[in-house]
Each structure stands twice: as C-alpha cells, then as structure tokens.
C-alpha cells in the first residue's frame, strides 16, 4: 500500500478543518482507540473556540474515563468527585453567573451515583449545561454494568447479560429530567457518523445560547460507544450502537424551550 504524499498548501488548497488550536491542548488523549469521548471533547472545544468564549467558560469533569478532560480542554476546569459534577457546577455558576458553565459526565457518574445531584440541579433549573455521555457501561473501571446498560447486554458485572430481575431496567434519565420545569433543553445525540457529529455540534451550540439567555438547565445526552468495554472494534461498536442503543435511546430533541 502506497501512501499519498501531498503538501496541500503548496497545492493551493486551503485549510477547511483543523483541530481547535487554542481550546484543545496538545496532550495526546488517553482514551482507547475509537472512543467517542474524544469526539465530544473536540466538538465542545470547537464551539468554545468559535464563539470566542475560552475566557468565559468553566468546565467540570467527572470521575469516569473523562476524568482527565482538563488535560485536553484548554479552559479553567474543576475535577469533581464521582457523581457530583453538577453540584460543583451549580456552585461555580452561582458564584460566576456571567460564565458559561458545563459539566461533562458519564452514565455511571450522572445516572447512578450522581442521580440525586443530577435531578436536583435540573430541578433547581441551574443555568448550566450538562453533557452526558451515555455509553451504557462503566468504561473507566473496566466495563461494569451502568444504569443505562441494555437488557441482555453482557458486562463484567452482568456476565450472563443484564436481567430485569437482578438489575432492573435501563434508565432513561434524559426523559425523566425533561419532565422538570426548570429544564430548558434536553436532546439526545451521538457521534458515530459524520452527520451525527454535525448534529451534536448544533445541539451544543443551542445549549450554549440558551445558557446565555438564562433559559435554565440544558442536558445534551450523547449516545456513545465504549469499544473496550463492549469488546468490539470501534467500527463494530458504532454499528452496534445504532442497531441496539437507538431503539431504546432514540436520537433527537426531547425538550426544547418555548419560542
């Protein structure tokens, strides 16, 4: 196999896509090959860069694979205890109401140990963005069952597949949160195809705008993959995601603000 060697600039081509140089650091991401976390990080930081709000944005990282988000996002960030990112973000926002504040959390973090904080942050209508990465598994700790794990899905703590009897149902927390009057915007997106990434970016842009307009809590769920936890190649994982996750977690807006 021969590689094509070109110098695009010399060829007169113009750059139409490059990583956001100011808001993404140079640090190599520690995520597994093909993991969706990287895409979401990048898209978030593209937005911060394009909107020119690097100096106005404060992020809160969770405990989960994205615990090191602050190694990559070149903005002020806090690393919260497992499940408490939204409580941390609440305090940051209350003290700096003119800043854009977001939390970035996995499904274990946001929908298991952090359920109370998630729901009460949303119920207070805290004017923040919660970015919720739903990969139906605990990636960081080695592939255990998450609240969002599908029925029948094998994980290291549901080796025979998740059963209702032992572990109950996959939790659709976004739908629950959408019920709360303090919540302005709830949408479910993904990053498994180029178009999905385009839609995610749009959704995140909306969320930042709503925050500026003080509409209330915004939650952007990203149905994502975990090739390592799922024991699949990244390509397989993205296919599996579309086939198995989407029926239960269909992409699209769940709640949008009036007007």
């Amino acid at each position: 196999m021969d590689t094509v060697q070109v110098d695009p600039i010399a060829e007169g081509l113009e750059c139409v896509y490059a990583r956001p140089a100011d808001t993404l650091t140079e640090t190599r991401l520690h995520y597994c090959p093909g993991c969706g976390h990287g895409v979401v990080h990048r898209v978030l930081m593209e937005i911060v860069e394009e909107l020119g709000i690097q100096d106005q944005t404060i992020g809160v990282a969770p405990v989960g694979c994205s615990v090191f988000a602050y190694h990559y996002m070149n903005i002020d960030m806090q690393e919260a205890a497992h499940g408490r990112a939204s409580a941390v973000a609440t305090a940051v926002k209350r003290l700096h109401p003119d800043r854009y504040v977001f939390s970035y959390q996995g499904d274990g973090d946001l929908a298991a140990i952090g359920t109370a904080e998630t729901i009460h942050t949303a119920n207070r209508g805290e004017n923040i963005l919660m970015v919720f990465i739903n990969n139906a598994i605990y990636g960081m700790t080695g592939g255990q069952m998450a609240p969002t794990t599908l029925l029948g899905m094998k994980t290291s703590t549901s080796p025979g597949g998740r059963t209702i009897e032992t572990s109950g149902y996959p939790l659709k927390i976004s739908e629950m949160i959408a019920l709360l009057p303090g919540v302005a915007y709830v949408t479910r997106q993904s990053v498994h195809t180029p178009n999905a990434v385009r839609h995610l970016k749009k959704a995140l842009l909306h969320a930042f705008r709503y925050q500026k307009e003080k509409k209330g809590t915004c939650l952007v769920e990203v149905v994502s993959n975990c090739p390592s936890g799922w024991k699949m190649t990244p390509g397989e994982a993205n296919e599996w995601l579309e086939k198995n996750m989407f029926p239960l977690y269909p992409p699209g807006d769940i709640k949008v603000p009036h007007s």
């Binding site: 520690h30 960081m140 080695g142």
Partner: protein, 182 residues
C-alpha cells in the same frame, strides 16, 4: 532458589499472561509464587508490566526495585527498566520493536527477534511464548513441561488446539536465545 523477574511492554503484547504462565508453571513445580501486575486505568493502551517471583522459600516482599531478569518488549519499557536489572543480571528484549538497544555492560543482554519469529509461525500472539522460551533457556527457573501444563490451565479449553503451536514457539525461543553469545 529465588528468581525475580519483571516483564514489561505494550498492553496488547501478552505481558501479563506471559508472567502468569510462568507463575502457574512455578505452581506446577510446587514453588512459592507471587505475580504482581502494575495495574493502571486498565482499559487504555500504554505500557503494562508485572513482577513475577518464583522461589523455593516463602516470599517476603512481592514488590522489589531490582530484578534478576528484566524482559522488555518495547522501547519505552526498555528505557524505563534497563536500570532495574541487578548487576550481573539478565536483560532480554524484543529486538524487532526496539531500535535503541540497551547499553549496560554489567549485565547479560539477550536480544530476541520474537515478533519476527512469531510472524513466521503465522500467529503474532506466540511472541510472548518465544520470549518465555528464551528466558527459560537462560535461567531454567522452571521446566518446559511445567510451562505446558500451566498453559493448559491458563488457556481456556477452546484454545487448547493452540497448545502445540505454543510449544513450538517456546522451543524457538530456546533456540534463539541459545544462539546469542552468553
């Protein structure tokens, strides 16, 4: 007899299972054993290593700073652990992957082109068995027979058809190591 070994390399290279095979083989021979992985945020790539101690007597500390043998399967591991070989000890490295060879002169250094050899065996996963063969050729910590018994135990049933291939790999390792001037 007590032998203290460190195996280090990329996550996918079979570092931990090579150490574990040796540990099981030690068990087979009735020895005292300790196998200590360096565990990290495991799901991610990067380097992995384990310490294996095989001894006739009860093992006190399972953690040590200097080793009788270090096996390095990639460049970062070699760079990091070359210094951890005891004076007079043994350093085995995978010479296909490693371009910057070790420089110490107070230890025995055995380069083994195990990756290359594994390709010849048409199964890249035999690489660590080749290395293990080389290690045994030099140290005789356990017998080959014990390794084969250990493998039968470590490998899930469904892979037992691979046992002969692994035995071949082990022998290749023996041969490769024997070829290197001691």
């Amino acid at each position: 007899m007590k032998h203290e070994l460190l195996v280090a390399g990329f996550g996918g290279q079979g570092v931990l299972s090579m150490g574990m095979t040796l540990a099981y083989a030690g068990m087979v021979e009735g020895k005292e054993i300790s196998w200590m992985p360096s565990y990290g945020p495991e799901m991610r790539g990067g380097t992995a290593n384990c310490i294996v101690i095989v001894s006739d007597a009860k093992i006190s500390s399972p953690i040590i700073a200097a080793f009788d043998t270090v096996v390095a399967l990639n460049q970062p591991s070699l760079d990091k652990f070359e210094g951890a070989v005891r004076k007079g000890g043994l350093l085995i490295y995978e010479s296909t992957n490693i371009i910057k060879p070790p420089t110490r002169t107070d230890i025995t250094i055995v380069p083994v082109a195990a990756a290359e050899e594994a390709l010849k065996l048409k199964n890249s996963r035999t690489m660590n068995m080749i290395i293990l063969g080389a290690f045994l050729e030099r140290t005789h910590v356990v017998e080959t027979g014990a390794i084969m018994q250990a493998l039968a135990k470590v490998l899930p049933e469904r892979y037992h058809n691979l046992l002969p291939l692994n035995e071949t790999a082990l022998k290749r390792g023996f041969e490769l190591a024997a070829r290197v001037a001691a």
